[in-house]
Structure formats: structure tokens, C-alpha cells
């Protein structure tokens, strides 16, 4: 739930109040395509990358530029962090939220993984890696390639060698 403020920046808040609480300090993040996001410092600190920057005093008044993360993906990562910071103890709710969160197309999931990797958000990485692993389970090699849109660029000799070594797993 994002509201556009007068100056065009998006406020993606996770708290119950619609106004920014004076005590929860905000930090501005800029996506690669120049969109601006206001986030609580607490939520932003879920990213170890940003957390270290804040601690080292590297964040100025302008905010943090994230040249590797596009706006749509950054919005999603922020939504994740806000949700986890808002009610960390409500395990059932969080589990339900997480399940819905990763229920996306695989290329979007990969984009989230890349962003979470760059931003170093461990919980989100763990969730996404487990999701990808679960997608791989019990699938044949061809099914995995199709699911993730991966081109088989083995040479025929390489492929034959691999199949020979672990033939039992391919039947």
C-alpha cells in the first residue's frame, strides 16, 4: 500500500499510522530507475548492506542510491522488510505472508534473489533459496530447464559424460 506524497515520492509504510512517527526515523532509498522510497531505518536495517552504511555514517541527507535494484523489485523487498519488522513474533501470519510473497513468476523470483543478495537480506535470501529448491525437487532435468527457462548449453559429449556418471538419477 503506497501513497504518493506531494513531491511525488512514494511512502511505503508498514506501520498502522498513516503519518510518519517522529521516533521511527526514515531513510530514503533510490532505485536504479530513479524512483524514491521512504523506509523506516528499522526496516532498512534488515539489509546488512544498508545497515553497515548507516552505522559507518555513509548515509547522507539525500539517501542511498541502489543502482542494482529496479523500482518494482525494490518495492517488493521493502514490503517484505516492513512486514517482518512490523510483527516479527506472529509466526503464522509471517508464514502466510511469506508463502504469498514468493508465489511469483520465476524470473521475478530470481530478480528478488539478486536484489536480496546485493542488499544482503538474509531472511529473504533463505526464503527465496528454499522456494527455488522446492521447485527443483522431484523434477527431471528437462522439466527444470523448462521451468526456469534455462538453455542446455552442454556439448553432446559433456551431457553424455554427466548422464553416464549418475545414470541412476535420470531414469
Amino acid at each position: 500500500m503506497a501513497a504518493t506524497t506531494a513531491d511525488g515520492s512514494k511512502v511505503v509504510g508498514g506501520g498502522e499510522k498513516s503519518n510518519v512517527d517522529e521516533e521511527s526515523k526514515m531513510i530514503t532509498l533510490f532505485s536504479s530507475d530513479g524512483e524514491r522510497f521512504e523506509v523506516t531505518q528499522e526496516a532498512a536495517a534488515m539489509s546488512q548492506t544498508i545497515h553497515h552504511m548507516m552505522e559507518d555514517g555513509c548515509v547522507d541527507d539525500e539517501g542511498v542510491h541502489l543502482p542494482n535494484v529496479g523500482s518494482s523489485i525494490l518495492a517488493m523487498v521493502i514490503e517484505y522488510c516492513n512486514r517482518h519488522v512490523a510483527s516479527p513474533d506472529e509466526k503464522e501470519d509471517i508464514r502466510s505472508f511469506d508463502a504469498g510473497f514468493v508465489n511469483v513468476e520465476h524470473h521475478t523470483l530470481f530478480d528478488i534473489i539478486r536484489a536480496a543478495n546485493y542488499l544482503d537480506v538474509k531472511e529473504l535470501m533463505d526464503l527465496c533459496c528454499q522456494t527455488v529448491a522446492d521447485s527443483i525437487k522431484s523434477k527431471s532435468v528437462e522439466e527444470i530447464r523448462e521451468l526456469f527457462g534455462i538453455v542446455n548449453d552442454f556439448t553432446p559429449e559433456e551431457e553424455a559424460e554427466i548422464r553416464k556418471e549418475n545414470q541412476w538419477a535420470f531414469e
Binding site: 543478495n117 525437487k137 527431471s140 554427466i162
Partner: protein, 422 residues
Amino acid sequence: MELEVTPPELPQDVLMDIFALLEIPDLVRAASVCPSWCSANTSLQKLGQYKRPQTPCLLYTSETDGESDARLYSLVEKRSYKLTLPEPPIRGRYLIGSSNGWLVTVDDRSEMHLLNPITWEQIVLPSVITLDPVAPIFDETGALCKYNFTSHEWCPPFTADLDELRWCLHDRAFVFYDTSVKHYIVVLIHYPRGQLSFAWLGDDKWTLLPPHRNFHDCLYKDGLLYAVAQQGEIFAFDVRGPMVTEKLIAPCGDLLQVWRIDEDVDSAPYDIHVGKVDIFKVDTALAKLVKINSLDDLVLVLGYNQSLCLSAEEYPGLKANHVYFTDDHGFNIFGHKDNRRDIGVFDLANNTRGELVSPQLWSNWPPPIWITPAITELCPTTVPPHTTTVSSSQFCNQACLRAAYIFFCIVCAYVIGWGYIV
């Protein structure tokens, strides 16, 4: 117009994190998807970062397969994989143990091997003639032709053919990894009367343990070999030095003792049919047994394999408070090759047993055995092996979570008509 774009690849370290979550069959397939995924798996293995616990599988053979073929039934995927194994043919071997991904087998010359059915690695163990009750008999050409076997001190030794000795001598075997000396040890329980001998990998002979008898099961933890005898007595030995020393058992978490009780069903002689499972916690301080009625979220995997006590949370393919069992009664297994095997899943909450898979997939001989797949090299040429394969790491995990569960299993057969506990 939407452009079809091949998604850029995930970084290698991320692929490694994903692959570290997969069990072996899925990992093998993932590594075959494309060169970049293959490379990630290679790195994962080389750096020793693949520590995923594996769900035990049932290893069995089938009459419709070849003599060197075996099958692995996966409890996770509910399907079987076919493996073609190295010589000598698996259907001609006795399977006397399964630990940490290794089968312990006895061939038709009564010699023992370690065999990893996934990696095909095979290791010859010290010759059977180095076991205490065995002496070789040579023919006029100097070739080994028979064995002398001393079954009891008061009986004269008898002569066994090369393939016959294994019926009289071998009972069960285990493979353990000692993290302090970073070495593998093989432990053999054998006749007469359940003696215990051991050999570190690389030894050229077996060492007989002093003089206790009637051992039934054993386990290795924190540098000590624990062995349980037929009536439930537990001994601990330090077998790392030049002399074996016996230790007092210090409380080191929970010890469980399990009794599998045969029920009387209309069946062939010596046909075992587990009808009840009783589990006791061993109070070493007070030297008594306390019956427990539930394993909560734990799962037991029992049989001729090394007994396993696992957390159902880590193994989604297994049901909590259940016992997955195969036969572990040596007389039944080796004495009656055509007998039906007692294999199934016991629900402790309802005290009921169920089929593992129906219809029966396996041939009765060699008897099916649980195995935990492993792809760690036993004898790598450069890097020391890692203690990743299940049992030892499971005990470490349990110790972190609660107490370490050390587990023993004893077969207790109520034979109706005889009316006593054997």
C-alpha cells in the same frame, strides 16, 4: 510486443546455497541442467559445504533385475531408483550393515567389503582369517580352500566352505567416523556368541575386543564405542589407542532402548511380525529404565542398518513418532532366505503397523536394508573426508537442539508357547 529474454544467471554462490538444500537425487539432476549449475555443484562439493542430511532409503534387489542390480526406494519421492553396482554381484552378497552411506557386505569367499552404492566406491576390509575364531585351510597347491571355525571353546572347530563361513560367523557391522582422529572404523559383531572385533580403515587385521559377549548393537560418539549386549547392558570402550580401555558411561544426553515385540500371527516358522514397540529411556545414574510413550517429533529407523533417531522436522518424508523398520533378527534373515521380511512403518501413537509400499517391491534375499545415501569420498587422495554423512552429524544436531539421543535397538521376541523373553 513482449521480448523473450533469457533470464540472466544467478550468481554461483547463490546457486551453491540453493543446491545445499537439495537431497542427493535432486542435486544430481540440478547439476546436470547446464554448465553453470554443474560448476556450482562442483564448487559446493570441493569446498566441503554440502552437508544436507539425507532421508534414509530402502535398498533392495528384485528378481526381475540383474545379479549386480539394486534398487533404492526413496521415502521422499515414493519411487525407486535402479543402480548397477560393482562386482562381486550384490545378489550374491550378505548385507550385514549400513552406516553413513556405506553398505558392509560379505562375498562368497566370506570376505568383507565396504560399498557406497551411489558413488561406487568400494573398499576391501581386513581378511576374515584375521578374526579370532577363524583359521585358513590351504590345499596342496597352497590355495585357500576352506576355513576352520571355532564356534565354542568346548567344541572342536568345524570346517566350513569358503562361502559357508559367513552363515556361521558374521552377524552385524557398522562404519563410524571419529572426528578427533579423523579416521573411519569398522566394527563387526560376530559369532561365537556375539563377540565384537574392529578395524580402523587401513588396518590389515581385525582386533578382538576383550572378553564381553552377546553384543547386539553399537554406536560411536565422542571418541567412544558404545555397545549394548543382549540383556540390555551397555559398555563403552576407547578404541583409539594401542590398548582398548573400557570406560564408565557418563550421562551424555538420552539413551533410548527399544524392544520390538513379535506378535503371534499365522505364518511360517521363524516368520517375525512386529506387533508392538516399547521404548525406554535409560537412566544411567539410577541404572533403571523408564518407559516413554511418545517420541514426539522424533523418528526411528531400525533394522540391520545403524540405528537412526531423526527429527521429523528435518525430514519431511518421514512421519513423527513413527518407527520405520526392516528385519534385524539375524537368525531369521540368514537362516531363512525365502522367508517374508518384516518391513513396515509403526505408528507409536496408535500402536499400529502399516506397509511401507504396496505391493511388495523387493526380493526376500538379500534382505532389504535402510541406507542413508552419501556422496562423500571415504578415501580422497587430497582432502580429508568430512563427517557429513548422516548419523554422526545427526547426533551433533540433536545435541544442539536438546539432548543427544543415543539409540540402541534390541529385538525381543515373545514366542507364544515358549512364554519367555529371549
